[in-house]
């Protein structure tokens, strides 16, 4: 039984649809523009804007970007940091979430309070930096992976999930003589694939897209992740000297700099934008579980 819309209702629905289409256009037009611009000769783009003449198109920007050592190294570093960070933070969160979900766990309030206080109060940028420095982790991947790996929100998510697993399962296993270790590894973890997936996706995307920790903790350019390399190309307008072989190349580089920017935006954002629709369900789940608390 559906509600029969009145004429006013129908008008409202039509306006609603128009506005939503408008919102979609506002989101998608800049993205499409970037993709098209990344294939266009900068002079043509400057004078004519987006044209339909095939002669104005070239893949020069992509050639330069893909041949750029810093960019490739940044890509490899970003994969390395993101995978390592994801593994560490997911394991730490799952391990901490499990005891907190056990009803009789002695010290539950102590640990929860300890974790939750850090959500509201922290030492701040400088004291944290000094700790990392004292530990000798400056200019090493550890500085990127460890300090950020502790995420109270993730621990709470994991705990909430574990609480939802029926207790009968672990109790039955206990009766059969299984140890806590076996229960955790053999029963609880295999049931936890959804939460592992959600935590891992968020951790990976977060690390992939971040630049600030790398900027303050890393000095060696060889260690820079993709986002820092992008920052120098897109925002600081620096062209990597390795791209330039001679004078004419330098002039060429300057001419193509806009194209290089557009191409690097496409190349760096493409992996996530292409992957995300397949995982949309899990990302949304993450938002929902997070809101339950």
């Amino acid at each position: 039984m559906n509600i029969k819309p009145t004429r006013l209702d129908r008008a409202v629905l039509a306006i609603n649809l128009c506005l939503l289409v408008l919102a979609v256009l506002v989101v998608i037009i800049p993205l499409i523009y970037v993709v098209i611009a990344s294939f266009m000769e900068p002079t043509a783009l400057l004078n004519k804007g987006i044209s339909l003449n095939l002669a104005d198109y070239s893949v020069q920007g992509y050639k330069l970007i893909l041949g750029n050592e810093a960019m490739l190294r940044g890509f490899v570093n970003a994969v390395y940091y993101s995978v390592a960070f994801t593994a560490v933070t997911v394991i730490v969160s799952l391990f901490a979430g499990y005891p907190l979900a056990v009803d009789k766990f002695v010290g539950k309030t102590f640990f929860m309070t300890l974790f939750i206080i850090t959500m509201f109060f922290g030492g701040g940028l400088i004291p944290t930096f000094l700790v990392v420095k004292e530990l000798g982790m400056l200019n090493t991947p550890w500085a990127i992976i460890l300090p950020a790996a502790i995420n109270v929100w993730n621990i709470i998510l994991a705990r909430t999930f574990f609480k939802g697993i029926p207790k009968e399962l672990s109790e039955a296993a206990k009766v059969d003589g299984a140890s806590e270790l076996r229960i955790f590894l053999g029963i609880v973890l295999p049931l936890s694939k959804p939460i592992i997936f959600v935590l891992a996706l968020y951790a990976f995307v977060g690390q992939w897209n971040s630049y600030f920790d790398a900027m303050i903790y890393l000095e060696d350019q060889k260690l820079y992740p993709l986002q820092l390399v992008l920052r120098s190309i897109l925002i600081q307008n620096q062209v990597d000297p390795s791209m330039i072989t001679d004078r004419t190349a330098m002039a060429e580089m300057k001419r193509l700099s806009e194209m290089i920017k557009y191409a690097s935006i496409v190349i760096s954002s493409l992996p996530l934008l292409v992957m995300y629709p397949f995982f949309q369900k899990y990302f949304e789940k993450g938002v929902m579980v997070g809101s339950l608390k």
Binding site: I3, P5, T6, L8, N16, L19, L20, A23, V27, I28, P30, Y33, L46, G49, F95, A96, Y98, P99, L100, V102, K104, F105, G107, L114, F115, G122, G123, G124, L125, I126, P127, T128, F129, L130, V131, L135, L146, P147, A149, I155, E180, F184, V205, N209, F212, I216, L230, R231, I233, L234, I235, I265, S269, L272, L273, Q280, E284, V287, M288, S291
Partner: protein
């Protein structure tokens, strides 16, 4: 058999007598002692659980609590050679210096304005978006629209700001339109006048869709019977949205508003820092970017830590304040 009998009755009698005689306080002590024993027994047989929580515990202590202790450098003149404990204690010198510096008012107001305008403009949009999406009856259309609206959330802040620079550059596409209409290009990224608008609007562009997810889910939980009943009573679509859908979002709105309002002075440095140019500093310098510059660029650790601490204390006060306000409005349902 006989002995057994005696033991049985004997112990029974003793037990009865004991309970009879002992006042209730004694039982409490005994129980507490039992409780501690139970707890120890639990810890012994489940030490594995403590091994599991150990990494998180250690990381929290090292990277959260040690820095909290390190915050005392805000009250000292920190120097490397002397260490945290050995450095000279100067009390509130750095706080006073910051509060009296000519930068203070500008930076404080920049932070507040950027955040408050962002909240006022940005908060309603995901809600409106969710109410609109909720009216789409075709599941496939709804899903595709959501897919596109959520996408910018996955673009990194570096790329977003990079896009702003190329789009808004004097020779960029936006200025083409501006030149057509106004006759001359506008230097958006180096004009302090435009910084806040660009920051906030690009933020809405990036996150409004994604932030609507939670409201969309809350609307999906609204009982359709309510709409049918209202319809029978003659309520039109707009009235039903106003009187049924919107109230259903109220609890979620309250919580999210507290979180954002509580974090109004905690606005992150990442995007503002990237958008800063030498010329837009008058509006783009906020507390977080200032802490970074003073501390890590100029190496004035103590001064910078003092500003950071000042900021976190404001944040905590704000969170408590906003929570109590929402509690009142929401008939006792706050965040905590």
């Amino acid at each position: 058999m006989f002995a057994l009998n005696i033991v049985f009755t004997g112990s029974g009698v003793i037990e009865v007598q004991e309970t009879w005689r002992k006042p209730s306080v004694g039982i409490g002590v005994a129980r507490r002692r039992e409780g501690i024993k139970d707890k120890l027994r639990f810890m012994k047989s489940n030490y594995f659980l403590y091994l599991l929580i150990a990494p998180a515990f250690l990381l929290t202590i090292i990277f959260k609590y040690v820095p909290m202790y390190g915050v005392i450098i805000a009250f000292k003149d920190f120097s490397y050679s002397k260490g945290i404990l050995g450095s000279e204690f100067v009390g509130f010198k750095h706080f006073a210096e910051f509060l009296n510096s000519p930068n203070f008012e500008v930076i404080f107001m920049n932070t507040l304005k950027l955040s408050a305008y962002g909240l006022l403009l940005g908060f309603p949009i995901p809600i409106i978006l969710a109410l609109m999406l909720n009216q789409l009856r075709k599941a496939a259309a709804k899903k595709n629209i959501q897919l596109i609206l959520y996408a910018p959330n996955f673009i990194s802040v570096v790329v977003i700001v990079g896009m702003l620079f190329v789009f808004l550059s004097p020779t960029g596409p936006i200025n083409k339109i501006v030149t057509l209409m106004a006759g001359h290009p506008i230097t958006f990224m180096s004009d302090p006048e435009y910084f806040r608008a660009i920051y906030i609007l690009s933020g809405i562009w990036q996150t409004a869709g994604w932030s609507s997810i939670i409201f969309v889910a809350a609307l999906a939980a609204v009982d359709p019977e309510l709409h049918h009943a209202a319809n029978i009573d003659g309520a039109n679509l707009l009235q039903r949205i106003w009187h049924i859908d919107l109230p259903a979002l109220k609890p979620v709105m309250a919580i999210l508003f507290i979180l954002s309002a509580g974090g109004i002075m905690a606005i992150g440095h990442e995007k503002a820092f990237l958008m800063q140019t030498a010329l837009n500093i008058p509006t783009s310098e906020i507390i977080a970017t200032y802490v970074y510059k003073v501390g890590l660029k100029s190496g004035d650790y103590s001064y910078s830590a003092a500003i950071g601490l000042f900021n976190s204390i404001i944040n905590i006060i704000l969170l408590v304040l906003v929570n109590s306000v929402v509690k009142k409005l929401n008939e006792g349902d706050g965040l905590y």
